[in-house]
Amino acid sequence: MMTLLILLSITLLLPLVAFVLLQWIGPRLGEPLAAYVGTGAAMLTFGMAIVTMIAWIYGGSSWGFHTGPLVKTIGWLPIGTFAGQRNDGFLDLAFYVDSVAVALITMVAFVSAIVHLFSIAYMRGDSRYPQFFAYLSLFIFAMIGLLLSASLVQVLIAWELVDLCSYLLIGFWHEKAESRSAAIKAFVTNRVGDVGLIAGVGIIVAHVGNTTLPDLWLTLGDPTQQIMSPTMLTIVGVLLFGGAMAKSAQFPLHAWLSDAVAGPTPVCAMIHASTTVTAGVFLLARVFPILTPDARLFIVVIGSVSIAIGSLCALAERDLKKALALSTMAQLGYMVLAIGVGSWIGAMFHLLTHAFFKALLFLGAGTVVHAMGHETRLEKYGGLYRRLPVTAVTFAIGGLAMSGAPFLSGFYSRELILGHVSAWASLASESDRGALLQLALWVPVLGAYLTPLYMTRLWMLTFAGRTRDRSRLRRAGESGIMSFSLVALSGMTIVVGYAWFPIQSMVEESATEARAYTEMARIDPLNATWPTLASPAEIVFDATEGVEVRQNFRTPMETRVAEGMERAHRLTWLAWLLGVATGVLVYARGFEVTERLGRLPVIGPIRLWLRGGMFFDDLYGLLFVGSTMVLSGICTAIDRSLFDPIIHATAWIAGAPGGGVVVGAAQAGRVRVYIGAVVVALTLGAGALILILIQNG
């Protein structure tokens, strides 16, 4: 146990040390050296993560792969004692290490190391070069800290640190107004989510007195204990999901994500692949046992809506990086949906595969942007495969993986999700809301058609055909470092989905480990049955793992899932083929076909609507930002003129006439006013004194 803890601490603290070091002496190290320090630390972190993984797989007596999780709690803040509290009066920080956490840490370390490597070339010549690597290092620290968290408070801490890094890196080129506003937008939108998380944590603390996840699984996840009413628990679930919604860019808190591409492109690879956006899904997977069926239904709806919005907007987006950002939103929608239907295994698996291909795609976009002199608009691109052959090929691999092409990682993970969704939907069709819930299947299938379509579009418009604006081309092509990074990520993208690769089994084993841990207390959090109508969600999950609650239903669950998987298998193949075919047909000649389509009466406005991101930005700008600014203006004005009761009252008593004059007098600082004030205060005071004396008898 000690060994693993030491290994984990080194993995966690190495990036932090690198951050402090780079903050301290970074400017003195100068351009290449600072990058070497940062990259070296990132690579060491990856090495440590691998060592940790090996140690984990070997395992100890009570922890390790397939054996059980490693749990460690540390008292952090005294918050007083509560009825159901398991420790005396402290709010805990807690570490919970299981297979999925180890796998995710390794993934984060790998992707970050590659991003570091890529940035050495990409950021060359930047005036704040050392700073960039310092922030990247902090980012790794925050993310690993999050992946080790097993208490909601610690999740909140890590989240905010992740937000900080997102803010710093999105706004890295703060001379550009666009970067500045994108950075603020990202932070504040995530704070909106954090309000939800804090509220959820607050309600949980009020009931349980702690936020350690295993404790919550055992107490709140066990409906027989009735610590919280089901309604309240649903509210808590939705509130916690609110936090995840912002982090993982789900509707309606998704608007920050496509602006966040204003940062340097390697940063996007971090944010969209391995760090910020995965945080939300990770939290959902961790709190899964306490989500009620109603909360999960809500999650299903939000996930589906996000898939639809992301895929549709990506279809019309004219900016390469923004289109990729929208695809992230859609892919995260799949993960969220998976959590909602109970397949957190599918969600975690997709999270891992997505991280590799999305990092690959963004770094590919990075070389393109680099070669085009920081131009990101698709209409300037075209025909870049000649100049950037490695990028073209690797981008195609990434795109194919994301669109669910057979034999690439994305195919396996998304098929798993679709299979579970399909089983869920077929069960749901028997309930009274059945017809509506069928949508939950057809939206992801639509997404499975749209994804290959827009990925083909992106690839064709960027790499195929002829370069539309040659003036933008820079001499900078693919440097060796960049190509290496892309190839390394492509390799992972291909292999990570296969069953022989340890990732999938690590995700699945984490369920066994959680069981092993909680069985000590004789309650299985993952099998919680609810006093309300048992949701199909648990059933799907159980069917893949065990058969505990099957007797509640007439049909054997295994059949359902098998049927669902088969259906999903057929559908994904079909959708993928159709999507690619449509993409090739429409975009074979660049923008020609779409321009013609755009002139049609209905399609034109729709295209405009999609291009504007469905105008959520403008709506939110008006609704929230605008109203807050107006409110702030009103408050300031009132505060300045009217809200000065003492000066007012005194001025009035001292005989100064009328409102406006009073203010004027007060602000001009007329002596009379102040003398009046003294008089009034004394009178009031003496009056009160006399009153009390009279009462006193």
Binding site: Q23, P27, F82, E160, V195
Partner: protein, 518 residues
Amino acid sequence: MELIRQHLLNVLIFLPAVGAIVVALVHGRKAARRSALVTSCVTLALSLLLLIPGVFDWTRAGGYAYAQSGGVVQLVRRLPWLLSINAQYLVGLDGISLPLVILSTLLFVLAVLASWRIEKWVGGYFALLLSLESAVLGAFLSLDLLLFFVFIELALLLLYLLIGIWGGTRRGHAALKFFLYMFVGSVAMLVALVAIYLRTRSFDLIALPDLLHAVALAHPAWAMTVFVLLLVGFLVKLPSLPLHAWLADAHAEAPAPVSMILSGVLLNLGGYGLLRVALPLFPMQAQQLWFVLAIIAVASILLGALCAMGQTDFKRLIAYSSVSQMGFVLLGATMMTTAGVGGALFMMGAHGLGSAGLFFVAGVIQDRLRHREIDRLGGLATSMPQCTRLGSLFIFAGLGLPGLCNFVGQIMVLLGTFAAAHSGPLSVANGPICFYVLGVFATLGFLLTAGYMLWTLQRVFLGPVRPETESLADLDSIESLVLWTLASLVMALGISPWALSLIFSETSVAALVKALAG
């Protein structure tokens, strides 16, 4: 050791005053500065002696006023003072005053350092500053209501002079406004004091809670009146809505070191008064009035943030953010839960460090540019990287970033608010939903703060370089020292709040909460 235990508090209170006399007598600016620095440093060192286990035993540092619950204050010194009205010179220390005393002595050292550039009547300035330290420490340490009042009044008078003489162009107006507000608070407090005395014939804060318990039962209306008067006295200083209007003017005109003291020490006197006097003396009244207080607190948090968003003067903006942050102190104290009260206490310290840092950064900027108009700033990151780094640190602390100290205070208060739904005295008579709603609204302040703080960061430090900010000098060594001291404390307390601060006050807070629950 016994010698230290007997005299330490007295020395702490009067040493700065002695130093003030020395400063006033020595010749030359240099000598005055140096003797002021030495005095404040010695005071700081002496106050740190309190952390030695043999001097102050924090494990039994129970709240002073609850003899029946087993806690007593420590290091008590009791001397007869005004015999005819039974007022005493009574000082003592517990876990609630300890962190505030150390924070104050530290901030005075930093304020002396920050005043190094002041040229106007140096001797007088430092003499007043040191006298202020005496008065403030006296207020934090006294356990006699009248003595407490006298020290507070003295502190206010000295601050009035410091703002009125060494302030900016509109210092007269600001000083008078400050005086007026404080005067109202003082009159209210004085009336309450007299009323309490007439009922109980005592000013002894150790004995008063028990004495007043019976009185408050017999005369609820009287008790409520006195409680409200005390509240007015302390809420003016905190400051919370609607008594906050003096703060922005005072800060805008006060020199940077005085702003540091004002925000880091004087405001805490308000919060301290709540925890030491108003709540323990009238717990039942506090429980009756809790909802009003909570609404005031949440309104302060939200409206303070909204007003801060609308400011164009950097220092006024920080002042309004103070209003917003001190709202958390009031909210936490009102909730009467361990997390709430502990969080309120921690928040006082956190706010004291963070906003003192920000005010000093504002002072540095004003020193370089001769103005603080946010819209005319920007691009300082290029010319003043060190200042930008530290300034952003304090800004991030202000918006409650984990790892920096304000987060700890805010999250404790917020959790304390939610927790009050099911534990603590308020949960008995009130449904949980109102606490949840209050908690959510307070959390919205967390959101607004992020917005305006980051916006400020960008407008002041980031963005393209402007011609007038192109060639500014970065921090000199004294400025670096001041800011790095504050910054490292902000970080250290944020990372390890328990070992560095909460451990000293926990038993006292627990005793206070127990006493409030009755």
